[in-house]
Each structure stands twice: as structure tokens, then as C-alpha cells.
Amino acid sequence: MKTLSPLNSSNPCLLKTHFLKVPIFNPIFKFKPLPHNTHHARIAKVPSFTINSKLKSSQDINNKGKKSVSQKIVLSETSPPPLAVDKDDINGGSGNESVPVSSKKKGGVSGLAKKLSKKVLQILSNLSLAIGEMFTIAALMALGTVIEQGEAPDFYFKNYPEDHPVLGFFTWRWVLTLGFDHMFTSPVFIGMLALLGASLMACTYTTQIPLVKVSRRWAFLHSAETIRKQEFSDTLTRASIEDVGTLLMGAGYEVFLKGPCLYAFQGLAGRLAPIGVHISLLLIMVGGTLSAAGSFKGSVTVPQGLNFVVGDVLGPTGFLSTPTEAFNTEIHVNRFYMDYFESGEVSQFHTDLSLLDMDGKEVMRKTISVNDPLRYGGITIYQTDWSISALQILKDNEGPYNLAMAPLQINGDKKLFGTFLPVGDINSPDVKGISMLARDLQSIVLYDKEGKFAGVRRPNSKLPINIDGSEIVILDAIGSSGLDLKTDPGVPTVYAGFGALMLTTCISYLSHSQIWAIQDGTSVIIGGKTNRAKMEFPEEMNRLLDKVPEIVESSSSQQVDTITSG
């Protein structure tokens, strides 16, 4: 394929390297990296203007495609030098195409497959598609919060009826066929997420990773015209480029000086961090998939003093879930107790648990509370809820009787439990008795058989109360602990993704600034640009350039006069 020569030959160095047979190492420059216009870095994000071309050098045909050199010529409509030529020495794949020379010789199916994958890759890494996907996902999520999730089909028949549909067209048929009643696990939503994941992968591969190679090459601009056309540009008369370089180094830039040309940059991490962001997003997606497909969940309410076996409680969530040895552990609730504020409200609830293995030996013992779970063998046990299971009372010094308590009203942490002790003939149709109500394990309120308030007793006081001729002593209020159990193989991956995402998002806030300068006689022409901190950059540059010393030449020798030039 022929190469296209650049329209603007503002960079004379580039012209020369075009027609060399071995375009990789240009003998003019001492530095190894290739010269190219760094505008490419910005331009790479406008893939619609990319023209891919391949330059075959004579070596290629001999090496049978092991080393292929390709050029990517990118047009942009924004900045004045419209063409940039990027030469990459590719061993394998890079950029938007990865067709080695040999495939042309093999031809046939593999060539077709490669062409197809190249096309697919190009479509997937389109930015507008990605934006559209993100928007669709956001819209679906919003819809998922508006439409009630997880209800029986009856609910949707009632609320989205066909005779007067919501918004004129939205009936229950839409909801149920598209799976909007379980939006966040519906095929539509998962499909969009998968598409976004594919776009992320394609974009990372095609656009971001070449960016690494591009940004790490320093490129000198050799024409004053180009430098003047930068976002920020200035001319210093009677200055030397070495002073500028020293000042920039002092300000934290990495400076490269070659002859009359200077290139400095700062904050390269800010340009590369978005790659890290995309990769950590992919990591989170992978971890999330693993969690969804391979974990076990279960919850149980265990009264104080009872046991349960882990494996009985846990149920799988997906096809990758495999139980482990630890599922045979038996868990014994030793004690459940609550802490209270002075106002009487619940401050924290705790459960003292012992884990016993199959032989009955205790392998672990821990008191858990909310925000403080127990971890053993990949299983995590969380304290999530509580209730009161029974009241232990003495009636007329007989007993102890355990009266089961039933929940009467649950409102978050404000619960009401009650129980009933029948008095008189149990089998008569309108049996009356003593009611006992409790909001927490602290105090029990007792009512007599007419429903009148009789008194309040605390379980540990052991004070008797006389109601309707019976003497009741409340021995204990037995609570039960609401525990949630879970195994989740995806958690380490997801946590790694979270940490990476936080870190890389922080880093990508940094601004990548680049400065070029040329010594033109006695004056220095400086230009620069930055990708994020566009407001602070000119001011920072002005402040820096104010410090450049002005050179005042005397007749015989050069004397550097430290009058600062403005």
C-alpha cells in the first residue's frame, strides 16, 4: 500500500523518514524513539478519521510477516497540523489492525475471521456507541426503580392495565415480556451490561494501549510555526533555551533538550490513568459475574441456645456454586443480647457464636454484631436482625414455662412482640388470659384478662407480679438472632477492582502538560498544552516564564544579566 504524504509538511523530519527503507531507526536523531507529532495522542480519539495503511518494507516479505511495519495516518479537523504519522514497530498486534502479512498468503477462513474480528473491534470501540450504551443502561436502571420489582404478575395486571395504559402505551405485556419485573437480572439489562463490557475491552485494546506507546515517546517540534499554534504560546526575546529547561526542571517537568529543540512534560500518569480506570471496571464486572454465578446465600433466625448446620441454610445462586468442606460446620448460638441507649432504644445487638466441626469440636468462637461479621472457611456470618423467641415464666411457682412470642408489629428496629397466657379453661371458645408485650429484651409489659395494664417487669429482676390471682415471675426473655450467611468467591476480585478504580480515578485527575520550545536566534519560542487543567496552565506558564533570565550581551563576552524578563 502506498503511504499518503502529509498535507502540511510542517515537520520536515517526518518527510525524511517516510521514504526510508528501514523507517524505524532514523540516523539523524541520536535518540532511539521515533519522531512523530504528539497531536496524534489527541487525534487517536477520533477514530472516524483514521486511515489505516501498511507499509511493507523489503524485510517483511523475507521474514514472512514476523515483523510488519504499519503506519496509521490520522486526520483531524481541530488543530492546524492535520496529519500525524505514527510508526509502530509491531510484533503482533497493535492499533486498529493486526493483520500480519502472512495471512494474505494463507488466505481463506482465517483471513476472513480476522477481518471480521477487526471490523467488530472497530465497531465496538466506537465512542458514540459506548455513550449510547451507557445512556441505555442508565435509563433501564431508572425504569427499574420506578417499576416495582419482584411482584407477582397480578400486580402488574392491576397497575399497568391494557385498557388505559400508562403513558398511552405501557401495559403489563411490556413489563413481563421484557423482564422489567426483575429488571436487574433480566436478559435485556444483562445484555446491555455485557455489551458495555465488550466495548470497554475493545476500547482498551484498540485506543488506550497504543496511547501508552505514543505518550511515552518524546517528540520534538522543529518549526516555530507549529509551536506558535499551540494553546498557549509565547516568545521570549533574548533568552536561552537552557535556562528555560532548568526552570522547567525546577518546576517538576521532565525536560529533554536536543540542539535547539526542547520538549518537557509533566503528569504523564494523568494521561495513562484512564486505561487503569477501564481495566478496573472490567475487573469489577468479572468479579460481579463471579459473585452472581458462584455464591451461596441464606438467612436464618436462631433462638438463643439452638444450633443449625451451615449447609442446611445456604442455597446456591448460580451454576458455578460449589459447596465446600466448611458447609458441614454446626453453629451454636450461645447467647444473644442487646445494648441499649439511655433513652431505651436499641444501640447494638450481639450474638455469641461457637462453630463446631463434624466431630463436635469447637473450631471457633466469636461474638458478632452489626458491622462486625464472622469469617470462617470462606463463609461469612452477618448479624442482621433480631427477634424475641420466647418468654420463660413461672406461674404460681410452677414451671418454668416457655411461652412463644409472636411478632405483632415490625418497623425497622422498632418491633413489638407479644404472647398470651390463658387463664381458666383452655378449651373454652372465648378463653381469656394474661397478655405480655415486649419491645425489646429489657422489659415486659403485662396486661390482665380484661386487657387492663397490670405492670412492667424486667426479666432479670425476678420480681413477681400478681395478676388475676396468679403470681407470675418472668425469668427470662429469650431472644433469637437473625443471621445472614454468605459465601462469595468474587469478593477478592471485586475488592481489587474497587481499590484500583479509586486509585486510578484519583490519578486521572492529574493534568498532562506538554511544552515545546525552540531557540530561534536569540529568542525562544515556547508553546504548550494541557489536557485537563486548562485554566491554571497559562497562569502557571506565565509565572514560570517570568523567571527566565534575560540575556544582555556585552561586546566581548556573554554576560547573563539576571534581570527578569516579563
Binding site: V46, D413, V491, M535
Partner: protein, 323 residues
């Protein structure tokens, strides 16, 4: 007792100071610029910042836990976040451009919190067991800082849209009319030249009036401000969402439950990710990205306030109905 009266006094002082600041801004808008007022507004914002800080600290001391437990306190924290951003940008830039947006935000949030529906919840409440965790500090503070920054940024984007509204209509509507075509060219050309040839602007324009030039300069500045502040807000939002997810895993066993509040926070994150990505395509970047960021304002309010109004889901302790 002393602390609650102190709280009371501080609330009133900050509220009145901010209203004075806004009135001075309005006066300078309607009447001509009066020199002394510039300093007055800057000092006024600083005073209100200290007042709100004092308010938060007294609530902290009074209740023994960080002031995050309910909606009222998080509103006060939001107005504190606004005033922090104002102070930071004020000192960095030595200009008060943003105070036109931030000052009313401070006063509205604080006013709503103090005088609005939440009058019963002024007394410091206790922390329910689920909130007694070290993650509370990081998650809630990051989220609220994120909301404050993103609200500022989206308001700036709305401002950009309002200013360019006329231009956009002209460009879109009357493409065949030569006059408007040239006008649109001059607009685009000025943008182009502002970026590349700052010094030679006046030599090359033929149809540009100085009004056009200043307007496009202003739009460019607003655009850059909003980019920077939305990036910062996006960062805070990301950290807030992720720390919330880790906390949820520690407390309830699962890091993402598609809870309405979580989902809307994710929607907010997605919208601003769209904003950041529309800036990659540098043609018409300011207009396109402003269109992307403007719905963000509404979405943040839905996420922050709307979900709590409904009182559903795991975040229900922030709602009006639960006490």
C-alpha cells in the same frame, strides 16, 4: 444547653450573612459594579463558612458522633461542602465568578434544612446499629462532597446552555440563511482562534463584534470551570459509591443490592461518565457536554432527596417518614 443555643446562633448568623452576600450580588447585577462590595461578598462567604463549620462541630460534640445520621445533618454538610468549594476556588483564582452559583446554593440548602419540613429533627438523634461503623465517615462525606461539586458543575453547564441557546438555535434552525451561516462561522472561528492564536484574534475576524468575542471567552471559561469541577466531583462520587459498597458488604453481606438509592447513585455516576466521554470528541465539546451534564442536576436531587422521600429500601433512615 449551651451547645444548642450556640447552634441556634450560628445557624442564624450564617443564614443572614449568606443572604446579605446574595443581595449584594443582585445589586451589583442591577446597578453598576460597586467596588467595595467585591471584598464584602468574599468576606461574607468566609464568615458563613466558619459559621457552618462551627455549627457542624457543635452538633458533633453534642451528639458524640459525626453529624451524618439524618437528612438535616447531611443538608448542613452539603451547604458546608458548597462553601468549601467556594473558598478553595476563590483563593486559587482570586476571582468570584463562581459565587453567583455557589452562594444561592448554600443558602437554599441551608434554608431548606433549617426552615423546611425537617423542624422536628433538629435535635441530634442517636445512630442506629447499622450506622455505627467507621465507614460512615468516609462514605457519607465523600458522597456529599461529590454531590456538591457535581451540582455546581451541572449548574455551570446549564448556564453555558442558556448562554449558547441563541447561537444553537441560529445554527440549527437557519442553516440556509447566509447571514446566520457567517455568524455561526465567526462563532466557530473565534473558538478556534482562541485556542491557537490568542494574539492575532482581532486581525482575522470580519464579522465578529466584541460582544461575540467576550461571550465566547466567557463560555470557554465556564466550560473549563465546569469540566474541572465535575471531574473533581466525579472522583468524590466514585470513592463514595465504592466505599458504600464495601461497607454494605461488611454490614449486610452483599456489596450491591440494586437498592433504589444505590441504583440512582450509579445512574448519576453514569451520566457524568457520559459527560466526561463527550468531551473526548472535541468538535462542539462545550455544547455537547453541557447537554450531557444538565440533566445531572435533576438526577442528583432525585438521588439525594427523592429516594428519601419515598422512604423505601435500605437507606430508609434518611427519610422523612422514619423517625
Amino acid at each position: 444547653m449551651i451547645f444548642s443555643t450556640l447552634e441556634h446562633i450560628l445557624t442564624h448568623i450564617s443564614f443572614s450573612v449568606v443572604s446579605i452576600v446574595i443581595s449584594t450580588h443582585l445589586i451589583t447585577l442591577l446597578v453598576n459594579e460597586i467596588l467595595g462590595f467585591h471584598d464584602l461578598s468574599k468576606n461574607g462567604m468566609i464568615i458563613s463558612f466558619f459559621c457552618i463549620t462551627g455549627l457542624l462541630i457543635t452538633r458533633w460534640i453534642l451528639s458524640g458522633h459525626l453529624p451524618f445520621s439524618d437528612l438535616y445533618e447531611s443538608f448542613i454538610f452539603l451547604s458546608w461542602g458548597f462553601s468549601i468549594f467556594h473558598i478553595v476556588f476563590c483563593f486559587k483564582k482570586h476571582k468570584n465568578d463562581l459565587s453567583a452559583i455557589i452562594a444561592p446554593s448554600v443558602i437554599f440548602t441551608q434554608g431548606f434544612a433549617t426552615l423546611g419540613v425537617l423542624t422536628e429533627i433538629h435535635q441530634s438523634a442517636i445512630l442506629v446499629p447499622a450506622l455505627q461503623s467507621h465507614w460512615l465517615m468516609m462514605h457519607v462525606s465523600m458522597m456529599i462532597f461529590g454531590y456538591a461539586a457535581l451540582l455546581c458543575g451541572s449548574l455551570l453547564s446549564v448556564g453555558i446552555l442558556v448562554i449558547t441557546f441563541g447561537e444553537v438555535i441560529q445554527i440549527l434552525g437557519k442553516r440556509n440563511n447566509l447571514y446566520f451561516l457567517i455568524e455561526s462561522f465567526s462563532f466557530v472561528e473565534i473558538q478556534y482562534m482562541n485556542r491557537n492564536e490568542r494574539n492575532n484574534v482581532f486581525q482575522k475576524t470580519f464579522f465578529s463584534s466584541s460582544r461575540n468575542y467576550y461571550r465566547s471567552q466567557f463560555i470557554q471559561q465556564l466550560d473549563r470551570w465546569s469540566y474541572r469541577i465535575i471531574s473533581l466531583g466525579f472522583l468524590f462520587l466514585t470513592i463514595g459509591i465504592l466505599s458504600g459498597a464495601v461497607w454494605a458488604n461488611e454490614a449486610w453481606g452483599s456489596y450491591w443490592n440494586w437498592d433504589p438509592k444505590e441504583t440512582w447513585a450509579f445512574i448519576t455516576w453514569t451520566i457524568f461518565a457520559i459527560y466526561l466521554h463527550t468531551r473526548k470528541n472535541t468538535k462542539f465539546e462545550s455544547v455537547n457536554s453541557s447537554i450531557a451534564a444538565s440533566p445531572g442536576f435533576l438526577i442528583i436531587w432525585i438521588c439525594y432527596l427523592g429516594i428519601n422521600l419515598l422512604g423505601i429500601g435500605l437507606h430508609s433512615y434518611g427519610s422523612f417518614t422514619s423517625n
